[in-house]
Symmetry: C2
Subunit: 456 residues, 2 copies
């Protein structure tokens, strides 16, 4: 093999090399994602309408399709400096095991206590809220990564936080809850008696284990009912992809230092926050016609929004309280099968990612849970990092790309996003090791049922 | 304040700057630690005797007091490169919160799946064993960090591993067990029916939750009874401190780059493996009379070997199967109170650390569990890393040193070792947050009872 094996295992940028601006991919897209709609009027939401839900600056970022580069405030950079830059790692051992001519790189975002990339946007959202005099925040969390990241950011900036955690997760993942409490957050199992919507659901279904939709509703209700409070969200939104662009920007600089450029970029796709950030600068080069990189979104077969959903206007939440977005969706009432272990359970997909996929800039594949865990365990053994189930979808996608290169003999450079660690997902690993993990693929009828009310 | 605030938050050495040799502090000690004794003959153990327990090269390293620098084999460096160098981090936020003129640095060894520094020695021990044709390994684990690290190293080098895990931990920390299984290790709750000593104990006390001493005995029995098998140990031994010297050597290089030198080095002390590695090059400069750095070992009040134990010959294990070492000991039958959450439960202390402490080169302090967790939660909130309970002893020690500087106005440079993360210790954090965590300090009578048979 003639491939360059002189690259370091891990490349860390110096602080000087770290991005000082976020990059807004919308400013370079040939066609923009469809605007958010006010569900009452069915007209594009205005800045004023959106500012009721989000603080003004975040609402502005959500609607800003023009500004190409946005300065990152010093206070945000200061907190990034505690855990960033994240390393770009060459998977030499995985390459060797696969016997592939491909070069496999991964951007590892799990090197912080939240254990995932979610912290990148949490810090920004808390900072902007604090700047505008917001004195408390609310959010929901399912798998717990977003709630953990937000707890850290709120602790750092001194803003009280209430997290509504889906009761099922609260009970099954008590350690996750305790990490949030360690960072000072109040964690309430949802549904709860602290909100009207919670009390209503509890009176109807007293033994419910809750849902993400219900937790969102409770968090929004509490934020609206509390003076100077706002609700924050960790994925899907344009503002979140904007903040997450630092992942891709760091990769771009690192590849320049290495004298490389990715031929294929692979990322797991839940709401699209990591994927959108990872691909941003590389997608710009593709849109501008400078490069012909392939982009592969990897999703679970049990929640296949891109590969089997409809590109349509739908609600972002099951509670139908949010603006409507045009995106690939399985329908806002779709709930993945309970055997599905990872956090990629969202019915929809970032409008930016949806638009790029719809316009042919990206590909998408789906994998079954057990084959994703095959890849996760192989990766752990070869690269010594225990990956989160979500991230392991990208690992599986990257391995398959590398195996294609083995067949064709192509020395492609593959980049994938390793979004986080699996320390709080050992129940799923246990099931896999004990061979009790099962797969689920929704039927066409099931998908048709949940997507019949979306607005094409 | 005039102190230099231009240092980066995190300094990572480049691969070129990483140590290529281990440093053997014994070669520079004015007086050597006492030799290990054969418990039968009470004479110093020979290389041949020790080679029955450890592979030849590791036995040689254990007895080698002369070789100052030992080349690290390429295969070991290759695996180090996957997760090393570990960062040296400036705790700017903690400094600010404490309002101290001191500069606080910490060496963070938790950036790998094993979650601790244990991997540094695990890799070396597995490599040398494999070189000599050893085809399987056994070990014991209590808290689980060593077992996890060894599982990773064995997976990487392709050596089957059996881990005897104290049954109480096996039941209370099922996730820890599953991490080891993910890396391919066989994990057996101890006592078990797979060994003679296990069956004997089970017949006497059927519902025992096991002990570290029993797990060691089972692991040794299995290694001895299996062809080409050896038993390996993760702390206390001279060879382990030799491998862990890379922690201190990386720090030394990083401080050179920063133009700094530590006035105080603080480390948590269980068996002494991290502490011994962290201090090695700085202690050399003190021994040689070039620097006057203070060294502070921090141990839990519930297991105070340095501060309240005897400096005497004792067994390294409760099963009394190992050679005897002269060390600070609470007696090999001492077992810390069950309310003690961390991994610092060892009755003895590395002979090297013991000798340095005995000869006045080091200080030691002990802290109560709840005050250690006060420090842990403060650190998490300010520095965004969730520390292991063990590491948090060093945090508490460093905070107290920084507060002393606040009183005196001294701009000291403090270095402490952050040995690992607390992801698998959330039960202890829960107890702390729920205010059900209690402290325990053994009485003088209790310590006298367990130390009455040691050989002064």
């Amino acid at each position: 093999m003639s491939k360059n094996n002189n690259a370091p295992y891990r490349l860390y940028l110096t602080e000087d090399q770290m991005p000082k601006q976020y990059y807004n991919l919308r400013a370079d897209m040939k066609e923009l994602p469809e605007p958010l709609l006010n569900p009452g009027t069915k007209k594009p939401v205005t800045l004023d309408e959106l500012s009721v839900v989000f603080c003004r600056e975040l609402a502005r970022q959500e609607l800003d399709n023009e500004t190409r580069y946005l300065d990152i405030p010093k206070e945000i950079l200061d907190m990034y400096r505690i855990y960033r830059p994240s390393p770009l790692i060459r998977a030499y051992n995985l390459e060797k095991y696969l016997d592939t001519p491909a070069k496999i790189y991964y951007k590892f975002e799990g090197n912080n206590t939240s254990g995932s990339h979610k912290l990148n946007s949490a810090i920004a959202q808390v900072y902007y809220a604090k700047q505008e005099g917001i004195t408390s925040l609310t959010t929901e969390t399912g798998a717990g990564q977003w709630g953990t990241a937000l707890s850290e950011a709120c602790s750092y900036f001194g803003i009280p936080l209430t997290v509504f955690m889906v009761k099922g997760s609260y009970q099954q993942k008590p350690f996750r809850k305790d990490v949030m409490r360690t960072f000072g957050a109040e964690v309430i199992p949802s549904p709860s008696n602290t909100t009207e919507v919670g009390r209503k659901i509890l009176s109807e279904i007293p033994d419910t284990t809750g849902s993400l939709g219900c937790a969102i509703s409770e968090a929004v209700e509490k934020a609206v009912a509390t003076k100077n409070s706002r609700y924050v969200l960790g994925s899907v939104l344009n503002q979140v992809l904007l903040h997450q662009s630092i992942i891709g920007l760091e990769c771009e600089t690192a590849f320049k230092i290495l004298g490389e450029y990715p031929d294929v970029v692979v990322g797991c796709a839940g709401g699209g926050s990591n994927l959108g950030g990872l691909i941003a600068p590389f997608m710009r080069e593709k849109i501008l016609g400078n490069k012909d990189t392939r982009f592969v979104a990897v999703e679970p077969s049990s929640c296949p929004s891109l590969t089997r959903g409809k590109y349509a206007y739908d609600f972002c939440d099951t509670g139908k309280m949010t603006p409507m977005a045009r995106m690939y969706t399985l329908g806002c009432d779709f709930i993945p099968a309970p055997n599905h272990a990872g956090g990629l359970r969202y019915h929809g997909m970032s409008p930016i990612i949806s638009k790029l996929y719809h316009d042919g800039y990206m590909e998408a594949v789906s994998y079954k849970q057990t084959e994703v865990f095959d890849a996760a365990v192989l990766f752990a053994k070869k690269e010594t990092i225990l990956p989160a189930p979500e991230s392991s979808h990208a690992i599986k996608g990257a391995i398959d790309e590398a195996l294609k290169c083995k067949e064709t003999g192509e020395e492609k450079t593959i980049l994938f996003g390793l979004t986080g660690t699996g320390y709080f997902d050992m129940t799923a690993y246990s099931q896999y090791l004990d061979k009790t993990m099962t797969d689920y693929i929704p039927s066409d009828d099931e998908i048709a049922k949940y997507t019949k009310n979306v607005i094409m």
